[in-house]
């Protein structure tokens, strides 16, 4: 009854590795059956973080797919320790099991007539945008990635994006290049020189506003991946709603089901 590409699985995967990428982020690599790796960039999994002495997460934790590789049977997450659940996740050793539910939600859309794509990512946003970059590369798109971070050492996945042939621009707080003004100038420049067909970003209110303005100004489409507290992750509990602009006024949509990727202009600041 359910189309194959909407099928969701509860699966026990095995940890291949789980190691720090830098001071803040860790990369978790799981061995996963091919059936659960039929993913779209921007989708996420709902992870049952392990129970440890003093760390007893109850609900699952949503995590964007950083990489899915059906050929080698691998599923990857890039995460930051934020609290109990992610701290417990960080204790997972190779060989241990991890129960995952997914793939979940609606991913990014790359329309055939879009050629020049711009990614604007910071922190965990990179995790969400990485598979999009790979997909864009596979489909022969021209990709520019503006990677933002606190400082140059905190920049992540640069090599990954570079290997995909992306044009990379790094901005950081410590170099004072990550401010809105500079970003606007940068993007205006990109639009003027090569043209941009679509924006892709994640999470931040600040970046959302900037891209909404630029998108409206130049009539450029865009998509944003959003976060919200989740319980079920499947669309059942209605806890993960956010407000969106719609022709009929403000509506609630579920981040886990209608999202986590939404149209840039529909999204509302918070």
């Amino acid at each position: 009854m359910v189309p194959a590409n909407e099928q969701v699985f509860e699966t026990e995967c095995q940890v291949i590795s789980n190691s720090p990428v830098n001071n803040d982020y860790r990369l978790l690599v799981l061995a996963a059956p091919a059936e659960i790796l039929n993913c779209t960039p921007g989708q996420f999994f709902h992870l049952q973080c392990p129970v440890r002495e003093g760390l007893q997460p109850y609900l699952r934790r949503p995590m964007s797919i950083y990489g899915y590789f059906p050929e080698k049977g691998e599923l990857q997450f890039l995460y930051k320790i934020a609290g109990t659940g992610t701290a417990a996740l960080a204790t997972l050793a190779p060989g241990e099991p991890l129960n995952v539910v997914g793939p979940l939600g609606q991913g990014f859309d790359i329309r055939d007539d879009w050629q020049n794509l711009l990614l604007l990512a910071r922190g965990v946003g990179l995790a969400t945008l990485a598979p999009l970059a790979l997909e864009a590369h596979k489909r022969g798109k021209t990709l520019t990635a503006i990677c933002s971070a606190r400082s140059p050492e905190m920049l992540m996945s640069i090599d990954y994006f570079r290997d995909l042939g992306a044009n990379i621009i790094t901005v950081t707080d410590s170099e004072e290049t990550s401010g809105l003004e500079n970003l606007e100038k940068l993007i205006e420049g990109l639009i003027a020189t090569n043209g941009i067909d679509a924006f892709y970003t994640c999470g931040s209110n600040r970046l959302l506003k900037l891209l909404q303005t630029l998108g409206a100004r130049h009539n450029i489409s865009g998509q944003i991946a959003l976060e919200q507290q989740m319980a079920c992750g499947l669309g059942m509990c209605q806890c993960c709603v956010r407000s969106f602009q719609s022709p009929t006024g403000i509506v609630h949509k579920r981040v886990c089901k209608e999202g986590p990727v939404f149209d840039l202009q529909e999204a509302m600041g918070w």
């Binding site: 909407e6 969701v8 109850y58 609900l59 509990c237 806890c239 609630h252 089901k257």
Partner: protein, 314 residues
């Protein structure tokens, strides 16, 4: 061959496992064959369209969760035009959960959802009654009797009354619901609770307070299910904190004829089908042929006579 079916009034369920209202929707069909479930219970709907509460709507507490979703609803027309037809594809009976702010609104909705395709109506009388100082109908025997009589008059379909744990009068409320015409009791809804973020000093839920569900609720809800099973003659459907087959057995032994699984589905979306399989295996292993071999088999003996109606902890 073991027979997992159970009788809830006029309704025969193929097994005693069904989802709890608000923790299930068509979306679960993306994960499992929902036709294997004993019944299909919708999220509570209201007559009109409602948005629900501010976010955050959930938070985690020690080994359990709080929610304050606030019954967002697409209204009765959507239910009749979209939801009911959707469930036609399944033979597990469709149970619609409804709620209203006033007795009359409640009764009107009860009539409006009494359409072909609906097998039973679960009346969520754990919601606030705005005519009576905002307390839930099911907090008092009198308001329970009142609303159940009106609801009974509004439909010929089986009526399941869903009780609240936020009361000191469980047995009396159960009897009032039976007297008012309930065909079964669902015991119980979430317990009013609160959590505060110490850093921000803000309540963790957008709506200040919310309902506790999950394992922490189990010993409270089990006690209520037991009290209700002693107090009434209609079937009791246990609900609260069930996540394992052992939990299900505890409720059945205590006197429940079936159970609803809520929060556990958030943790393990396939929990209900695993439990159905394990329940069958348990019956085989222990040589039980039918569910009535287990239901109400609690060995409470003398103790029960003296303290069944105790409604206070020592």
């Amino acid at each position: 061959m073991v027979d997992l079916s159970v009788q809830i009034g006029d309704l025969r369920l193929k097994n005693p496992i069904m989802p709890a209202s608000g923790t299930f929707s068509e979306d679960l069909a993306t994960m499992l064959d929902i036709n294997t479930l004993g019944a299909l219970v919708t999220k509570t709907i209201t007559h009109g369209i409602r948005q629900g509460n501010p976010t955050p709507r959930v938070c985690e507490v020690a080994g359990s969760m709080l929610n304050s979703i606030g019954i967002p609803s697409k209204g009765v027309d959507y239910f009749r035009n979209v939801t009911v037809p959707y469930y036609q594809a399944y033979d597990s009976p469709l149970v619609v959960s409804i709620s209203g702010n006033t007795t009359d609104e409640f009764a009107q909705l009860c009539e409006a959802v009494s359409v072909p395709g609906v097998a039973a109506i679960e009346v969520n009388i754990s919601c606030p009654n705005i005519e009576e100082d905002g307390k839930a109908f099911a907090m008092r025997p009198s308001s329970t009797l009142d609303v159940m009589r009106k609801l009974r008059a509004a439909t010929d379909l089986p009526l399941w009354a869903k009780l609240t744990p936020n009361t000191g009068e469980t047995s009396d409320v159960a009897r009032a619901a039976q007297e008012g015409g309930a065909d079964a009791l669902v015991v119980c809804n979430t317990m009013l609770a609160m959590s505060i973020d110490v850093q921000s000093r803000k309540p963790r839920l957008g709506n200040l307070m919310g309902g506790l569900s999950g394992p922490s609720l189990k010993p409270i809800a089990l006690r209520m299910a037991y009290q209700c099973a002693k107090a009434v003659d209609i079937p009791v459907i246990g609900c609260g904190g069930i996540s394992t087959t052992e939990d299900v057995l505890e409720y059945l032994i205590a006197g429940a004829s079936a159970v609803q699984v809520g929060t556990a589905t958030f943790i393990n979306p396939t929990a209900m089908i695993r439990i159905i399989a394990e329940l069958e295996a348990y019956m085989v292993a222990y040589n039980f042929s039918k569910m009535t071999d287990i239901i109400n088999s609690v060995r409470d003996e003398e103790a029960a006579d003296t303290v069944v109606f105790m409604e206070t902890a020592p």
